[in-house]
């Protein structure tokens, strides 16, 4: 492991390692905990930003005032609980260590990496660590949001502290039980061994090591050079469950009485129910138990989802207009153009030349393979929700407000998620399921149809990026970027409803988005006077962050301009980047992909390499791709598919400071590359009169097997900072940019609209909007293979 800046060390040799404070909690078996973040000061800040006069009466749906459902005193009380802000580990008499992680696992691998951290510091086999997902814990305030690739950054040290305290307590208990001096004891693989050879397992010690009172304990952490598990490649702890079908997602849970439920949704975005003509007839359909009008459409409940689909299709509903009925791609583009912020750099000397480009990034879908779904059981005095939620506290508080219940009466269970990509930051299905369960007076298992998930689910907003860079005498003098976007909904806040409400305020929201933009966008190059600004328009769409938020679009634009600057200044794209990069870690990853990918090798006509870099989440990632844009490849025929240019090779080098699980990190990079390929080449939503045309995975062209590079190499750089950075979103931006740069070089055409196929004729026939969802085919037997 790295020999500098590792956690738990001071800078000077000979000085003792840093001491951390944690707790032994009162419990029947050993239970330890550590402080989790610095949120205690947060309540005053958040509440001060909410005006007493209440929320504005704009057309945006507003949540109730916070004080109606959860006031400052509730918060302060919760924050003062002995367990507030603690992340805790419990030792069982069976020798297992259990951590209820206050985060959502949606495929990014945090349960595995967290288990590795516990196992490392506790000296326990990885197989004896259990990671569960904590229910919503309102007292955690800001500390139960899964986003920004932040989980390991924020939990690495607290988990280690808790585990180190547990190990210390186990050693103490063993010293007493074995009557041996503690400094003669060692720990390994969940066993304490004395110099005499006497042994006790952690399971045998779990009760004796417990405390009858909650006690503060100080502890030093294992030296990083002694790590034997952190930093080694480990398979996912849930892989066996995944490959055997035992892994349970929300729709796999057996909740008593929770029958399938679906919603008949309007034909345009955010349309409303005016009237239902045949509610009785639909109620009489086979299997159907309930039909209810709700705020987002008409809900049905039945014995099977298949019968719910039949019922949704049979409903005759008169719909009111939606919020974007007159909007199409072209009108939104015009809105964006009108809202673009001006460039500010003053006139430059005569010899200065400029690269000036404007890019368009179309609407994209963050729909996961698991559609929006949730189980809800709402009673008169309480409610229970099961869903994959990255902001479960906001969900809990919003649902409590909707139902008119105290927050404490709403239990929100966080379930393993079938992908997120930004979707699970929001809780649309959980909220809707609660509304339906209340309306019907019965538990429901609500699932969105795929077609609704694309058309009425949240989207990554359309945006434009205007870039002007000036250069003279071998130097880049200025770099200006004006990103203009349909508003991104950040009302999941920072995981807590008061910040969520701030994001709903028109003024506060602009500040919030700009803050996120400014906190995430970095220009890794020394380009002189650099300004990157965001402006937003149009809140009529249901939007949300998509994996890596603004970065894929912003950085794709920037890296294309970098290639243009390099060409204008007669430099090689790799050498040009290298000479302008600010950070040695950036240079190291760029050099690695250039070397491993044989940058500059002779390529056949119609094919080319592209190279790009991205800095975020305390890390650096570089991508080198090769693309084949020859007619033979572009015109490949696969039924109901978009083939197009094919990325044939991708080489990635990633430095996250400290890769807790290199195998998991590689998996996230691989996924990011597949996303980047799709964003540049194939996947977007087409908006026509308030309707997204895409309604299935054969319409929305996310990367499929026929688009996948056959040659993929991912290099995880050795530890640099000793502290883990972010991983889940990190691979997307550089991949998107590298593919775009390669496409430009292979075709000789500079792409300015993304994906590059967006303006081609639609590659599919759009599904009808009434009824809103298509019937399932019946020809399955004939397609067997």
């Amino acid at each position: 492991m790295g020999d500098q800046g590792t956690d738990g060390r001071s800078g000077a040799p000979g000085v003792g390692r840093r001491t951390f404070l944690g707790y032994v909690l009162a419990a029947s078996t050993l239970t330890v905990a550590a402080q989790f973040g610095e949120s205690v000061a947060a309540p005053q800040r958040a509440s001060a930003a909410v005006p007493e006069s209440g929320l504005p009466e704009a057309g945006i749906p507003s949540l109730p005032e916070p004080s109606e459902i959860y006031d400052l005193n509730d918060m302060l009380t919760d924050a003062a609980l002995p367990t507030a802000n603690l992340i805790s580990i419990q030792l069982g008499t069976d020798g297992t260590a259990t951590l209820a992680l206050p985060r959502a696992e949606v495929g990014q691998g945090i349960t595995t990496s967290s288990a590795m951290i516990v196992a490392e510091e506790l000296d326990i086999p990885l197989s004896q660590v259990r990671i569960t997902l904590a229910d919503a814990r309102p007292e955690l305030l800001f500390n139960q949001l899964t986003g920004g690739s932040n989980t390991t950054i924020s939990t690495f040290t607290p988990i280690r502290v808790a585990a180190a305290i547990a190990r210390g307590r186990l050693l103490n208990a063993a010293a007493l039980a074995l009557a041996e001096p503690i400094d003669t004891l060692t720990t390994a693989l969940g066993v304490v061994t004395a110099a005499s050879g006497a042994k006790m397992t952690y399971g045998q010690l779990a009760t004796a090591a417990a405390s009858v009172s909650t006690t503060a304990v100080s502890v030093t952490l294992k030296d990083a050079k002694d790590f034997t598990l952190v930093g080694t490649p480990q398979g996912r702890i849930d892989a066996l469950d995944a490959v055997t079908g035992r892994k349970q997602f929300a729709m796999d849970l057996q909740v008593e009485g929770a029958l399938p439920s679906m919603v008949c949704r309007p034909p345009t975005i955010n349309g409303t129910v005016v009237s239902v003509q045949n509610q009785g007839a639909v109620l009489a359909m086979p299997g159907i138990t309930d039909v209810a009008v709700i705020s987002t459409g008409v809900a049905v409940r039945g014995a099977t989802f298949g019968q719910c689909i039949d019922a949704v299709r049979a409903l005759q509903v008169t719909w009111g207009p939606g919020t974007e009925d007159h909007s199409s791609d072209a009108t939104v583009l015009a809105e964006l153009a009108a809202a673009e912020l001006p460039l500010v750099v003053p006139p430059l000397p005569l010899l200065t030349q400029a690269v000036d480009e404007r890019f368009t990034f179309h609407f994209a879908s963050n729909s996961a393979l698991e559609p929006n779904c949730a189980v809800a059981d709402v009673r008169s005095d309480r409610a229970e929700i099961w869903a994959s939620l990255k902001s479960p506290i906001v969900a809990q508080e919003a649902i409590a407000a909707d139902l008119g219940l105290p927050v404490s009466a709403v239990t929100v269970h966080v379930v393993q998620g079938g992908g997120s990509f930004g979707r699970k930051l929001f809780f649309d299905a959980a909220r809707e399921a609660a509304e339906i369960s209340k309306a019907m007076g019965k538990p429901v298992r609500l699932m969105w149809h795929r077609t609704d998930d694309f058309r009425q689910g949240r989207s990554h907003p359309m945006s434009t990026s205007r870039v002007r860079a000036t250069y003279s005498l071998g130097e880049v003098i200025s770099y200006e970027q004006r990103h203009t976007s349909v508003a991104t909904d950040f009302s999941h806040g920072l995981g807590e409803i008061i910040t969520a409400l701030v994001a709903k305020l028109p003024v506060g929201d602009i500040g919030f988005s700009e803050t996120i933009f400014e906190l995430t966008q970095q220009t890794p190059y020394n380009f002189g006077v650099t300004t990157q600004l965001l402006s937003e328009v149009d809140k009529g769409f249901n939007t949300g962050s998509m994996r890596n938020i603004y970065s894929p679009n912003v950085r794709c634009a920037q890296e294309l301009v970098v290639d243009k600057l390099a060409a204008a200044m007669n430099q090689d794209p790799y050498a040009f980047r290298r000479s302008f990069l600010k950070d040695q870690r950036a240079i190291a990853v760029l050099d690695t992909v250039a070397r491993q990918g044989d940058w500059g090798r002779t390529m056949a006509p119609g094919t080319a390499q592209g190279i790009a870099l991205h800095a975020e989440y305390h890390g650096f990632v570089a991508m080198l791709v090769e693309i084949d844009c020859t007619a033979a490849t572009v015109d490949r025929k696969i039924p109901d598919a978009y083939t197009g240019p094919r990325v044939t090779k991708a080489v990635c080098a990633v430095d996250v400071g400290l890769a807790v699980n290199p195998l998991g990190l590689k998996a996230q990079m691989m996924g990011g590359i597949m996303d980047g390929i799709a964003l540049t080449l194939s996947s977007s939503l087409h908006l026509t009169n308030g309707v997204f045309q895409e309604g299935s995975w054969d319409n929305y062209f996310y990367t499929r097997q026929w688009n996948v590079p056959n040659d993929l190499e991912i290099v995880v750089m050795p530890p640099t900072t000793g502290q883990p950075g972010g991983a889940g979103e990190f691979g997307v931006a550089a991949s998107m940019a590298a593919v775009a740069c390669a496409y430009a070089r292979a075709t000789g055409t500079f792409p300015t609209t993304f994906p590059i196929n967006h303006d081609q004729p639609l590659g599919f026939t759009p599904l009808p909007t009434v009824p809103p969802i298509p019937q399932s085919p019946t020809d399955g037997l004939s397609r067997a293979y």
């Binding site: 996912r236 099977t304 026929w706 399932s776």
Partner: protein, 158 residues
């Protein structure tokens, strides 16, 4: 209500349900077999891929009335029928390559992979790029490369 009988993961089952209800819902909602996943209900995403008499099918596209009492439906839960083993070699390869991320599509991917290998074998060729191009299963996490590696690794092990 009509009765339907078929063999599910080696055991004969009988359900009372309307003829047109697709097998996916018969399994998931009535019989509680939830390995096969819903991803679209359109025969597109292939998340519900299972086997009918040893061939890969999309359960969302088969009305229950299409199956006869002797038809054998095998889901991921019934796959590891290899004698003396808990897992099918394809599942073992999946673990070896650490393929899953969120895992939602993986039962369907594995069922498709097994069928694709058997199809190539029956056609007398080794599984290759042309076969991969025919695997339509969506993986929104983008595990495709490891899927290929796992299939190639397991192809000669069953």
């Amino acid at each position: 209500m009509p009765q339907h009988t078929f063999v599910l993961n080696g055991k004969q089952v009988t359900v009372d349900v309307e003829d047109d209800v697709r097998l996916l819902w018969v399994l998931r909602d009535i019989l509680g077999v939830r390995g096969p996943k819903y991803g679209c209900g359109l025969g597109v995403c292939q998340a519900c891929t299972s086997h009918l008499n040893g061939k890969a099918v999309n359960l969302c596209c088969i009305p229950v009335s299409d199956v006869a009492s002797t038809d054998e439906v095998t889901t991921i839960e019934g796959l590891p029928a290899t004698v003396g083993k808990d897992l099918h070699p394809m599942q073992e390869a999946w673990l070896e390559m650490d393929v899953p991320q969120c895992g939602y599509c993986q039962p369907g991917q594995i069922m498709a992979a097994v069928a694709k290998v058997l199809e190539a074998r029956a056609a007398g060729h080794e599984i290759g790029d042309a076969d991969f191009d025919e695997i339509r299963n969506i993986c929104r996490c983008g595990t495709y490369v490891r899927i290929r590696e796992a299939i190639l690794s397991a192809a000669d092990k069953f």
